[in-house]
């Protein structure tokens, strides 16, 4: 890890062409590309499947669930927009997901810094305690969680879901950030302290830049599960006006009336923001600017 000592290393291009690394074997390169392509098809297919299904009529889907059909239709989207109050549901999802994401990331930043770089007693114990909270199966604590949220008077409210999301996202965030922080040499921090930098400044001007890739990775992970989660918003928000977009989508299928094309249309609507956020963030993660700043 000594390689990372200098935070102001040369801003060399992050990833120069490295194809040479596969050696002289053109065959090997082709095999690898073929393998990756097969995998990419296997991963792109479901998105394609969802999109295609959302454009089929119900009977077309029953006739031919996997293949193409000649007449595609936008009816499912029209129906989905008619049945869901999309703007309101979207607002609810954005508020709760963004709130949960922000609080959980900030709390994890402070926590990870405290347990790795501040010599507080029991720091390790606190760290292990937070990680242990990761492995609580959510089905187990649903009843007690709802009781607890009622105790705070937060049933059916944004803050109830936001705090819960934050708590559920905290352990992994803390773990990954702590892993990154440990890689920062203590001498560097000691030197900053001698220069008179406060802990907040060290955290935000030294540690934060180092951990940007980690924050991006954690944000994507948390964003997707918070956005897609059904159990927590259902139990905390019930079917109230504050329910999230995913709950709205799941309402598109009735008791016995399951229209896969309609549900697919709803999912495409719900997925669009996630895909957008992902493409913004993945560039962040791998951009040379960040990678350069780390070294």
């Amino acid at each position: 890890m000594s390689v990372r000592t200098s935070p102001v290393a040369a801003a060399a291009p992050a990833m120069p062409a490295r194809s040479a690394l596969f050696g002289a074997s053109a065959l090997g390169r082709w095999l690898v590309t073929l393998l990756l392509t097969v995998l990419a098809v296997a991963t792109l297919y479901p998105l394609f499947f969802t999109l295609l299904t959302s454009l089929k009529s119900r009977s077309d889907f029953a006739q031919n669930p996997l293949g193409f059909t000649a007449d595609l239709t936008l009816d499912n989207y029209v129906a989905a927009f008619e049945r869901m109050n999309v703007p309101r549901l979207l607002l609810n999802s954005v508020v709760t997901t963004a709130g949960g994401l922000l609080i959980s990331t900030v709390a994890a930043l402070f926590l990870a810094y405290a347990v790795t770089k501040l010599r507080i007693r029991g720091g390790n114990l606190i760290f292990l305690f937070i990680i242990a909270m990761l492995v609580i199966p959510s089905q187990v604590i649903i009843y007690p969680l709802y009781e607890t949220i009622l105790t705070f008077g937060m049933g059916g409210t944004y803050q109830g879901l936001i705090f819960t999301y934050a708590a559920f996202g905290l352990p992994l965030g803390t773990y990954l950030l702590a892993a990154y922080f440990r890689a920062v040499p203590d001498d560097l921090i000691e030197a900053a302290r001698l220069d008179g930098a406060g802990e907040l400044r060290i955290l935000f001007s030294i540690m934060l830049p180092v951990s940007l890739p980690a924050i991006a990775a954690i944000s994507i992970l948390n964003f997707v599960w918070m956005w897609n989660d059904l159990l927590l918003p259902l139990v905390i928000m019930g079917g109230s006006d504050n329910k999230t977009l995913m709950v709205g989508v799941s309402l598109l299928s009735g008791q016995y009336d399951v229209s896969i094309p309609l549900v697919s249309a709803g999912l495409v609507i719900a997925l669009a923001p996630v895909v957008l956020v992902y493409f913004v963030f993945q560039r962040q993660i791998l951009s040379g600017a960040i990678a350069g700043a780390v070294r």
Partner: protein
């Protein structure tokens, strides 16, 4: 013992006294820094967990008022073969962990190496994680059906003996479920590893390359040691992924069937609590699962965390 303690004590005392003013300030700041996170974890996870434990000591009949029953629920749980089966299934699924760890790592390193078409792969691999489980379930039930496209493909390329009834066999159903879960998770691993690779120093890789190291040698002797903390993190994440985050997929794909072939403990907690209305026993199984996952993760963390820390210092 008596002889050892005076020898050990002085340096420690000296060290603390030298740093005392700083320590006290650090302590205060430390408390302020851990407080928000700790409060969240305690209020929204620990308190419900304790309440869940208390519930596991009560006999619940539907929604009638629970009565204290000591360890009766735990005794019932131990006597129930379905519980043992579900933990056995969990162990089988958990045995696939090495694939979960290694596959994304290799893929991430390939992408990091700018293997041809890397930008497309980088974007594509993550997509399955974003697809909601309900779609995953419906799609894979079609794909894995006895006369479905997967078997049609296998037969077409001359692999007819491999074209089995994927979701009907007891072992193949569990492995199919695990494979579908891996399919939906591995992109997250690629992303996580890429974020770790982004922090690697260019010079080290360059030096290795000049030494003539090939792909695998660089992966094993440079990337893996340097990425240990991230690998540790990903391993913990996968452990939870396999053992306690499979519910939406099980629900969407197999509902635990055929028979109880794909019932994992968390699914059993769900059926016991919400379908059988036996909240007490459900909580007891949940506690057993919590302890089980905590132990498994502790083993993983101990290895990864300890090594990661040793490297960092």
């Amino acid at each position: 013992m008596v002889a050892a303690s005076p020898a050990a004590a002085p340096p420690r005392v000296r060290k603390t006294s030298r740093k005392r003013p700083l320590m006290r300030r650090e302590l205060l700041i430390g408390i302020l820094f851990v407080l928000p996170g700790l409060a969240l974890a305690i209020l929204f996870k620990l308190v419900p967990l304790i309440r869940g434990f208390v519930l596991s000591l009560y006999e619940t009949r539907g929604f009638e008022d629970p009565t204290f029953a000591g360890l009766a629920n735990y005794r019932r749980m131990i006597a129930d073969p379905a519980v043992a089966d579900s933990f056995r299934n969990a162990l089988v699924a958990f045995a696939t962990l090495p694939v979960w760890i290694v596959l994304p790592l290799v893929l991430a390193f390939l992408i990091f190496q700018r293997s041809p078409g890397w930008t497309i792969f980088r974007a594509a691999f993550f997509l399955p994680y974003m697809i909601a489980p309900i779609v995953v379930g419906i799609m894979f039930r079609q794909i894995l059906a006895p006369e479905g496209p997967l078997n049609a493909l296998l037969t077409a390329v001359g692999l007819a003996p491999l074209a089995i009834e994927w979701l009907n066999g007891p072992t193949s159903a569990l492995l199919s479920l695990t494979a579908v879960a891996l399919w939906s998770f591995f992109g997250l691993g690629v992303l996580t590893y890429l974020s770790g690779l982004a922090t690697l120093s260019e010079e080290v890789l360059e030096a290795a390359r000049l030494d003539g190291a090939g792909f695998w040698r660089m992966l094993v002797s440079i990337v893996i040691p340097l990425l240990k903390p991230v690998i540790g993190y990903w391993t913990v994440l996968c452990t939870s992924g396999i053992l306690i985050w499979m519910f939406p997929l099980i629900y969407a794909l197999t509902r635990g069937g055929p028979g109880s072939a794909t019932v994992l403990p968390e699914y059993l907690v769900f059926t016991t609590t919400f379908q059988f209305l036996d909240r007490g026993t459900g909580a007891a199984i949940g506690m057993a699962l919590f302890v089980f996952v905590a132990l498994v993760s502790a083993l993983v963390v101990k290895r990864m965390y300890a090594e990661g820390k040793a490297k960092a210092r």
